[in-house]
Subunit: 679 residues, 2 copies
């Protein structure tokens, strides 16, 4: 036993071989004169800093003069210079030995330094990246080791601002962490108010019971979104993630009163009114009172770039992004996306005046009426596709044809319905009838996806025309485009067969009239369990498969993501779900089905291009699974692309390690086997 | 070439060797003197009867005297007795040769009889049964042949009244054939009116946009149900089928105006008011004006009984019924059910005052409140179970624990919600909040089934207490009961593990306190695709599997049965669905999954008891499939039990025939193979 409390020439402390917050290669830590380890931990006395620079930084923060500092809070470096030098040397030795940053407990007894314990230090994501990369440059580890030192999920911290961990916070309530980031702003209760406030250069948080497609512009204007209803796939969550916008959803503890322009925290007197400041943490689902300081994202650092380059060199899996607009496409590319795995075309239908044309289409009584409305939509969609395909020049862009049920495009409330009737100059009764006719008990399993394509061929034909006209225009301008036309919700080979024929026909017509021959593919989403079970048949008429793991999870588990919030917590806490199956792929169930489909599909069509485009594409464990079953790519939200890239590299390295272990095990087994055989 | 038009000693006609309507063993048919075949078919001249008895019957119908008849419409038997005797002899020869009823064209040229053509005659279901059985007694065919002569689906005609095919009919509209049978009655527009009318001994058809659980008593009172919305699994369809009550649903051509107490046929001036007579054909979905005469069911005939006895002797598959009440259980038993495969407990919750206790449970804020409400429900459910278990003495009864989402039990309209608030003496605002909290976007995939069992353990505990108290009471009274407690919507082994433990615990407690030890099983429905994929794991904690093919089809195909009406016709007509997948099991997709689950389940637990309890249990092709993959039983609506029994016998006989063909092919191949091997 050694003692740090035998007099003023004794001390005890904790040192870190590098800065655990930034990763800077500087020894740092705290110590106490004449004390034992418990005293440092107990927090009764305020410890001193190990290095002079840290001591001076603290003095500056506290407004101490250099003399006061020397008097009250000298550094180990100046108070016990010998001990400090010894510590530096030992720290270097330990770090070199373990090839990683160390968290060291030490004691100095009458000037003699003793090490009590050393262990690998915990660090922030920024530090993890910096340290891993520095250590490669210092030849302590190799690139592979550096890659494995950073957990892919950690990167999320670098891609979004985070709340200052030191800042004081007052928690109001907790919802579901729907889209990461940390933002503050004034409370507003409508999309219009959000837009108006932002025009007045105020930052706002849009607070709604739930959001609908009509709120898109307001959501875009707001800093963050807070809803009191809905789950991880609610409109608010999906749209926010797509926009890379911070969101907390399903925060059921808040009771909104739109007429009073206020929300109350259930079971308390706490009331927040329009204009009050709040802060959201989209990574934890927490909602705080007032403004909580945040720190900026770190993905521009050279270390980050170096690590990603090394990762990219090693991974086999391509990483694409889900993006619906030219802007999103550019963001995705800047994050390193190698194509778009899912471009949802219906989001384009809500922008500006387009919704009117879409509604006109829905309300049309016959094919002629629908075609007339679609003619207005085609040039708008074409412009979108030109923008997206141009932004992704030389990279594949998978465009999903119209997917949602038509009733999603009609106004929800009677008042809005009346307004629309006035605008379109038709009797409101007809609108009511149409809404009733379109009403569905379980819209997830209803008249949507390719079912609309089958019953209303003109919708897909118009979309394909827009895609191919855009592709031809860019091709003529010398820009390489690789559109992949994707049919959603296919369950039967015959569905795809019928639609493929029609799509190919439209493509051929556009190509013939435009004098350009862009390369294109026609494939399908595999998102209905039956499609996975019949993948061998469907593969015969598909150029590619894209596993829509969101819907595939909903159907395979019989679990509506929007409605699962009520029991999901119980299910996770009782160990039924190892984790939220919409966050990490359910490998045993949904994964089994995907594996089956990959095997069946490739048995019929060797080298069939396959990827996934659900939210799972950005989950590290799911990415490793996708690698292991031989998918070609994963596609995720732009803000998760770096995570997927790193995870894909991890998958390769872990596979190599497992193979090496197997090989070495075999080799060590062989000789004794040979002896046995001889004996 | 022979001629029947060379004078009055020539004739031509069509004869049937037996009566094709009743099956009676009597030669019959029509002929014309001095005519060729076309004349009989053309219908220009009214043909005469072949037999004297038929000629006399016709005369009686037309009010002719015997002299008039002889003059105007003599029979072949009396006009050309030689020819008649020849025809009788030939008919007998042909029938004996082909071992089946013949449809013969003949011509008599100057008294010489010539046969032009003979073929197997088409016949009604009643005739098919009668003829098949008679021919066994006549040693023309054996019992196996007789069984195969009757198509199982045909039996539907015998189990329900059918519309007189000869009667004049005026079609109003066509909906979905939701529940077979043919009924007439006065139009009423509410469940209350239906009940009142029936108390006044009037027969009524309940006409609704859709029905809800609150309409149960009215539905029970009405002769038939007609709805303008909903598909084959709408509330109206499911409940009607369960009750064996004729129903036409989703008849979208009718526009109901409840305030005017009238419905109009869209696009016409035709209006029907309360009190007007209409007729429904639940087998075709047709709705007719006025009363159309019907003929009674034929399942009491000795021939039918004989055929079913032969079928029962041969089948391997057991046939159970889906029944929710003691009355249904008795009906099921009378149709030959060998147990109940699905007893839904939630239907019991709607009867009379029970719904109040159920609502009290739903509105309770905590476990104590729910338990208090459940205490009121337990004795009521116990009484139901006593009735059902007693009715099924000695046979297994599978009781499914609470399955539907709770919001199904709250009133739909704001007005009803206010009424309920008054009744329960709670603020209406609380009810609104509760309804909003319980609201689900996709209730099919929401908080229901075992998910309720996990989050509100007291619900299942109360139900299991009721079941076991009933079982103990009957056991003490010397009645053998075989309850099988079934947990719905399981997707994860852990769900069943947790619930099984709780259920077994409650069972043990009741048994300990009641001094009786009834035998019971605890098993699960396999209705979530994941459950099928993980059947090997789930089998470890299940005493039995019951495939819920309705939900399994909905989830595997991503197809809401209620919402599929909008595109199902297109899907069938374009050849995507070979037929409605809710009518006949989708063998390629859902069937593949069931087969996988059977294999996986039995690999872990040999002899694991398995059956299906969806609507498919009454579909002949699906029954054959269930036989072929080794299920133990099928369960269907009571009125389809005879169909399933016959189909199960067909499955065995077809299998035997296929095996025999295989064996004989092998035998015929073997010798030459042997020669080859020698050569």
């Amino acid at each position: 036993m050694v003692f740090g409390n035998l007099g003023d020439d004794c001390a005890t402390g904790v040192a870190f071989t590098r800065d655990l917050s930034t990763g800077a290669n500087e020894l740092n830590g705290d110590f106490l004169i004449n004390a034992q380890g418990e005293d440092v931990v107990a927090g009764i006395r305020t410890p001193q800093q190990i290095t002079l620079s840290a001591s001076r930084q603290r003095a500056q923060r506290e407004g101490c003069s250099e003399d006061e500092r020397k008097e009250r809070n000298p550094a180990l470096e100046e108070q016990m210079p010998d001990c400090f030098e010894q510590l530096k040397a030992v720290a270097h030795t330990l770090e070199s030995h373990y090839s990683d940053v160390q968290d060291i407990e030490f004691t100095s007894e009458h000037g003699q330094l003793w090490m009590l314990q050393t262990r690998t230090a915990k660090r922030t994501a920024a530090a993890a990246v910096q340290i891993a990369v520095d250590m490669v440059y210092e030849s302590l580890i190799n690139e592979e080791q550096a890659i494995l030192r950073v957990a892919p999920a950690q990167l999320d911290q670098l891609l979004h601002p985070i709340l200052d961990p030191e800042a004081p916070k007052e928690l109001i309530a907790r919802g579901l962490p729907a889209s990461p980031g940390a933002v503050s702003g004034e409370v507003v209760f409508s999309a219009e108010d959000a837009e108006a406030a932002v025009r007045a250069e105020r930052q706002v948080i849009l607070v709604r019971i739930e959001t609908s497609p009509e709120d898109i512009n307001g959501m875009n204007a707001a800093e963050g979104i807070l809803t009191t209803r809905g789950g991880a796939s609610s409109h608010a969550a999906l749209v926010s993630r797509g926009m890379g916008k911070c969101a907390v959803v399903g925060c059921e503890a808040l009771e909104i009163d739109y007429t009073q322009q206020a929300f109350q925290v259930r079971g308390t007197d706490l009331v927040f009114r329009a204009g009050d400041l709040i802060t959201l943490d989209g990574s934890t689902g927490e909602v705080f009172q007032g403004r909580v300081p945040t720190s900026a994202p770190k993905m521009e650092s050279p270390a980050f770039k170096a690590l990603m380059t090394w990762a990219d060199r090693r991974r086999r899996l391509r990483v694409r992004a889900n993006a619906d607009t030219p802007h999103d496409a550019q963001v995705a590319r800047s994050f390193g996306a190698e194509g778009i795995g899912l471009c949802r075309t219906e989001h384009m239908f809500f922008e500006g005046d387009r919704i009117d044309a879409v509604r006109e289409m829905i309300l049309a009584d016959d094919t002629i009426g629908r075609m007339r409305a679609l003619e207005k939509i085609v040039p708008m969609q074409k412009a979108d596709f030109v923008g997206i395909l141009r932004a992704m020049e030389g990279l594949p862009v998978t465009i999903r044809l119209f997917d949602p049920p038509l009733h999603e495009f009609l106004p929800q409330t009677d008042k809005d319905l009346e307004e629309l009737a006035g605008k379109l100059n038709i009797p409101v009764g007809r609108l009511h009838t149409k809404r009733n006719v379109l009403y569905e008990l379980n819209p997830m399993l209803g008249h949507r996806g390719c079912r609309l394509g089958i019953t209303f061929p003109e919708i897909y034909e118009a979309q394909v025309t827009a895609i191919m006209e855009a592709a031809c225009e860019l091709t003529r301008a010398g820009i390489t485009v690789l559109p992949e036309i994707m049919v959603p919700l296919v369950g039967y080979k015959r569905e795809l067969e019928i639609l493929r024929k029609r799509i190919a026909h439209v493509c051929a017509e556009v190509i013939a009239s435009q004098g350009a021959t862009p390369h294109y593919l026609i494939g399908t989403m595999i998102e209905v369990p039956r499609a996975a079970l019949r993948a061998d048949h469907i593969a015969a008429v598909a150029d590619f498969f894209s596993f829509g793991t969101n819907d595939l999870t909903q159907m395979t588990l019989g679990l509506s993501r929007d409605d699962s919030g009520k029991f999901l917590p119980d299910y996770v806490s009782q160990g039924i779900f190892p984790q939220d199956p919409f966050g990490a792929l359910d490998l045993d169930g949904v994964g089994q089905l995907i594996e089956l489909a990959v095997r069946k599909g490739r048995a019929v069509r060797e080298g069939l291009k396959m990827g996934i485009c659900g939210e799972h594409g950005g989950d590290p464990a799911s990415v490793e699974f996708c690698h292991s079953i031989g998918l070609d790519y994963v596609s995720c939200s732009p803000y998760r692309v770096p995570i997927a890239r790193l995870a894909a590299a991890h998958a390769v390295l872990k596979e190599q390690m497992a193979n090496e272990r197997r090989t070495s095990r075999k080799e060590s087994v062989k000789p004794s086997g040979a002896v046995l055989a001889q004996g």
